[in-house]
Subunit: 185 residues, 2 copies
């Protein structure tokens, strides 16, 4: 999905500045299926303004550049929903962590130990975080955010179980190779 469309997806939920759109991609439900940095958001939202998909109100501030609050228009909504009516295609998953594990037998055992230990802590924290959201905000009406929350919890739990289970084997493979001095770079 291009950044222009994901920005419209944020704006359909309410008016926002470029900075606030960015935050939506970094935290909250959007972070689980979309992204975009400043370097893509600002040009994308500017490109959406000229054909009238969004409007921009400048909100003056003292000693600071004017805050630009963007609002979606009917044309913007139309663009968003017609794009969503196209084939979504496959999901994409990218992981430098799994990429590194693939070569565990050529990397130092300490490093493998470190990244797996860190990852386990990360997943535990993320699960806790997603479980807590439930107790505070979620209700049955907002089905999509609930689905995304469930998906996150299930995914992190699965990964946690698998890497906890295989941790010792990966470290053993790395140590084993160090003793043999074959693939070591």
């Amino acid at each position: 999905m291009d950044v222009k469309t994901t920005c419209l997806g944020v704006l359909v939920m309410g008016n926002a500045t470029g900075y606030e759109i960015r935050k939506a991609f970094e935290y909250g439900p959007f972070a689980h299926f979309a992204d975009g940095g400043f370097g893509s958001i600002y040009p994308a939202i500017a490109k959406a303004e000229s054909p009238g998909m969004v409007t921009c109100k400048k909100h003056k501030q003292q000693k600071r550049p004017a805050k630009k609050i963007y609002a979606i228009t009917d044309m913007g909504r139309e663009h968003l929903f017609s794009t969503l009516k196209k084939d979504p295609g496959e999901d994409k998953f990218r992981s430098n962590f799994l990429f590194a594990l693939y070569y565990a037998d050529a990397l130092p055992a300490e490093w493998i130990d470190e990244i797996i230990t860190k990852r386990i802590a990360d997943y535990k924290q993320k699960i806790e975080c997603l479980v807590n959201i439930n107790n505070q905000y979620c209700d049955d009406k907002n089905i999509a955010p609930t689905l995304i929350r469930h998906k996150g919890i299930e995914y992190y739990k699965a990964m946690l179980g698998i890497i906890s289970n295989k941790k010792d084997k990966f470290i053993a493979a790395a140590i084993d190779n160090r003793n043999n001095n074959i693939k070591q770079p």
Copy 2:
């Protein structure tokens, strides 16, 4: 991870042409954590050749451009493994399917039904595929591919359970909105 490094990751497993590197990103274990199209592989591998990270042997063919078989060098291995010793960062997950579901109440109920039904069939097929690989090739020595396989199976099973469970609610939300004629684009 940049394409040059992921290409080196494929070549460390054995010599390959650009076309074969592409196939590794599309099918097999690499597809679960890395990617790259022709448009990025060819320039990346060419850029890796000049400093000597890979060597290229031209294999002449009749009535066809010469096949270029790339092989990794010690320098290439060093580059790969030193890159893998850096912080892998967070995993990335992108999904136009979840993006569309987020606006289910503004999309036609038939469309929501269609994409969920398709996705359920897709996940079932992918699970079957990953389970079958086990029976044919996998052994306990190749820990990383096994981990990736397990991760895939667990992930698809989790998603399958969640979307099967929520399917009716999503369609109901879409139908509900059509009756109210509010958000309909």
